[in-house]
């Protein structure tokens, strides 16, 4: 009788098949984006449903980069997304720390209010937001988008950061304070390094949300030189036709910063950074 412990080969094959199926399912739209971006204009309609185009061209990419305002949109998006991610994370880290560590009057009410803000459908608030921004004279400015995105993302980001702070044992700060730190020093030297995964996750979350946001960008920006990338994409749709090839090429290019960003923060997302802190 052979050992029962040996895993069934059929099971292994099944496991990898399931993984492969999932990967193909998830990555197929991205492949299609790339494929259409690489297909010459003339072939788009004739070979629309073929898995591999019979001919490949980079002209869509060069056109998008050198002959459209794509680079400007791209830069605007970068400014807005980085700005929103930075400010949201900054405020959320402060608020999350307070929620995690301190008892203060009105804490429950503030948490409840933050939850309530998450319940309104966006469409309901668009008009008032437009009015506020207009009265502040911030229409068609990237600042308006940074402010709005920051405001919208803070509640969720705060809860996210709070849960990360909750995961850092309070004893560590106490120990640091016994070792001669002020509370602020303990925060910088002990809590902050351990919160890097949390900060990374929050930055990444807000960055991607801001990067792909369309509704507010469409409402608050109408001038071409302040457009962000998702709004800019719509300029590929003209009255009479849609320039699919260029639109897809632009889409592929737009994925690059998100990918780079995640590669960059990925090492901070590694779990288990606090293991070994307490107990055994």
């Amino acid at each position: 009788m052979s050992a029962v412990k040996n895993p069934n080969p059929a099971l292994i094959v099944g496991k990898y098949a399931a993984l492969a199926f999932y990967l193909i399912f998830a990555l197929f739209p991205l492949y299609w984006l790339l494929k259409i971006g690489l297909t010459p204009d003339a072939l788009i309609y004739s070979e629309g449903t073929r898995l591999f185009p019979s001919e490949i061209t980079f002209s869509n990419f060069t056109t998008v980069i050198f002959q459209t305002d794509f680079v400007a949109y791209f830069r605007n998006s970068l400014v807005v997304s980085l700005g929103a991610a930075f400010f949201t994370t900054l405020f959320a880290a402060g608020a999350g720390y307070a929620f995690s560590r301190f008892v203060f009057a009105g804490k429950r009410i503030i948490i409840a209010l933050m939850l309530v803000t998450q319940m309104f459908p966006l469409l309901m608030i668009i008009a008032p937001i437009y009015k506020i921004v207009a009265e502040l004279g911030l229409l068609n400015s990237l600042t308006s988008l940074i402010v709005v995105y920051t405001a919208f993302n803070i509640p969720f980001a705060t809860f996210l950061m709070q849960s990360f702070f909750d995961g850092i044992p309070k004893d560590l700060e106490d120990a640091a304070m016994m070792d001669g730190c002020s509370r602020f020093q303990a925060l910088c030297k002990v809590v902050f390094p351990l919160t890097l995964p949390g900060l990374g996750a929050t930055l990444g979350f807000v960055f991607t949300a801001a990067w792909s946001e369309l509704l507010f960008a469409l409402m608050l920006i109408s001038k071409n030189d302040a457009m962000t990338f998702p709004v800019g994409l719509l300029t590929f749709v003209s009255k009479f036709s849609v320039d699919w090839g260029q639109m897809m090429a632009a889409g592929v290019l737009a994925l690059i910063p998100s990918c780079l960003f995640f590669i960059f923060i990925q090492r901070y997302l590694v779990q288990g950074l606090t293991s070994g802190a307490v107990k055994g």
Binding site: A175, M178, D179, P193, G276, V278, K279
Partner: protein
């Protein structure tokens, strides 16, 4: 080195009072153990001494100077946490030298002190490891190293051994005792384990429900417990306590058996009689103060534990040194060593001969 005083200290969380009327004077170099059941306020008291928890009322003094509102970093006290609280992102050497890093001591001095402490604690070949790559006992040592490197006025320990297995606990207990001898620093040690308390302490403070029950040397607490709580908390196995009716010359147990207690005045007020298992003698059936049936007998080699059923009283425990030839189910006579018996009044306070 420091003399620590607590004067009528109390701690309240909102309207809940978790510690009250704490009066304690700790001498320079003394090893004080705070002992009590879980939730009685030991950690809270320790954290107030450390400065991590504000003191609700009363005075806290170090060497005669009021320190209530002094920040932890300015009290010059080191603390070893129950969870060890090692900084997970720093290696062993940096964990131990962190206080010197914060004080901006010269790097060379820091290195030599860390090396010295690591040597003392047997951690020399582990100094570049992260805490997660250490065993529980090693983490415990690093936590102690972090404290001793500072050469503080006083050490605080909050149940430092409770996460270790039994063998390691005994070893570390010895090491802490040695450390105290070597440093002769003031130490306050919290535990819920009375064996640790009895073995380590110069004086023990027994806490229960936020009140100090008794302060005294281990032997004082064992021989002259102030009340029923201390009597049952200190000493292992636990003291037998049985309800009795006080008479002029002794007490009468529930089954009508009269026990003469010539060494104990005030017997008339007695409501309960306490006898430690080691203070009951086994005698021939029909003689002695009580008659009993052996229920379970444990032969430990060095000792024999006999759980007995006493008619009209219930179960009691007897512990005798050496191997006693008693079998389960056997009829026994029990004689109480009256000079070692304790009497408790209605409210649990011990009745003592007036000295």
């Amino acid at each position: 080195m420091a003399r620590i005083e607590l004067r009528d200290v109390a701690k309240r969380y909102g309207s809940v009072e978790v510690l009250r009327n704490i009066d304690l004077e700790i001498q320079d170099g003394e090893f004080i153990v705070l002992v009590g059941p879980s939730g009685c306020g030991k950690s809270t008291l320790l954290r107030m001494v450390a400065g991590l928890e504000p003191i609700s009322s009363g005075d806290f003094l170090i060497d005669g100077e009021r320190m209530n509102d002094v920040r932890p970093r300015d009290r010059d006290i080191a603390m070893v946490f129950q969870s060890y609280a090692l900084y997970p992102h720093m290696d062993v050497a940096r964990n131990m030298g962190f206080s010197m890093e914060i004080r901006k001591d010269p790097v060379a001095e820091r290195k030599s002190k860390v090396a010295q402490a690591a040597e003392t604690l047997g951690l020399s070949n582990l100094t570049d490891r992260l805490p997660k790559a250490l065993s529980g006992g090693q983490r415990q040592r690093v936590a102690m190293g972090r404290a001793i490197i500072r050469d503080p006025q006083a050490f605080l320990f909050d149940e430092p051994l409770s996460n270790l297995d039994a063998a390691l606990r005994v070893e570390m207990r010895l090491e802490i005792a040695r450390l105290h001898q070597k440093l002769s620093a003031t130490m306050i040690y919290v535990t819920h384990d009375q064996v640790e308390a009895l073995t380590l302490a110069d004086r023990i403070v027994v806490l229960n429900g936020g009140d100090i029950q008794q302060v005294g040397s281990p032997l004082e607490l064992y021989e002259r417990p102030a009340n029923k709580f201390v009597a049952q908390f200190i000493g292992s196995p636990t003291m037998n306590v049985v309800p009795v009716i006080g008479t002029d010359t002794g007490v009468t147990a529930g089954n009508g058996a009269a026990i003469e207690l010539p060494d104990q005045p005030l017997t008339a007020q007695a409501k309960e009689l306490g006898v430690r298992p080691e203070h009951i003698d086994v005698v021939d059936n029909g003689t002695g103060d009580l008659s009993a049936v052996a229920d379970v007998v444990e032969h430990l080699g060095s000792d024999t534990n006999i759980y007995v059923n006493v008619e009209g009283i219930g179960s009691m425990m007897v512990r005798k040194h050496g191997n006693i030839p008693v079998n389960s189910g056997e009829q026994l006579g029990l004689r109480i060593q009256t000079e070692n018996a304790h009497l408790f009044a209605d409210d649990g306070t011990a009745l003592r001969p007036v000295a």
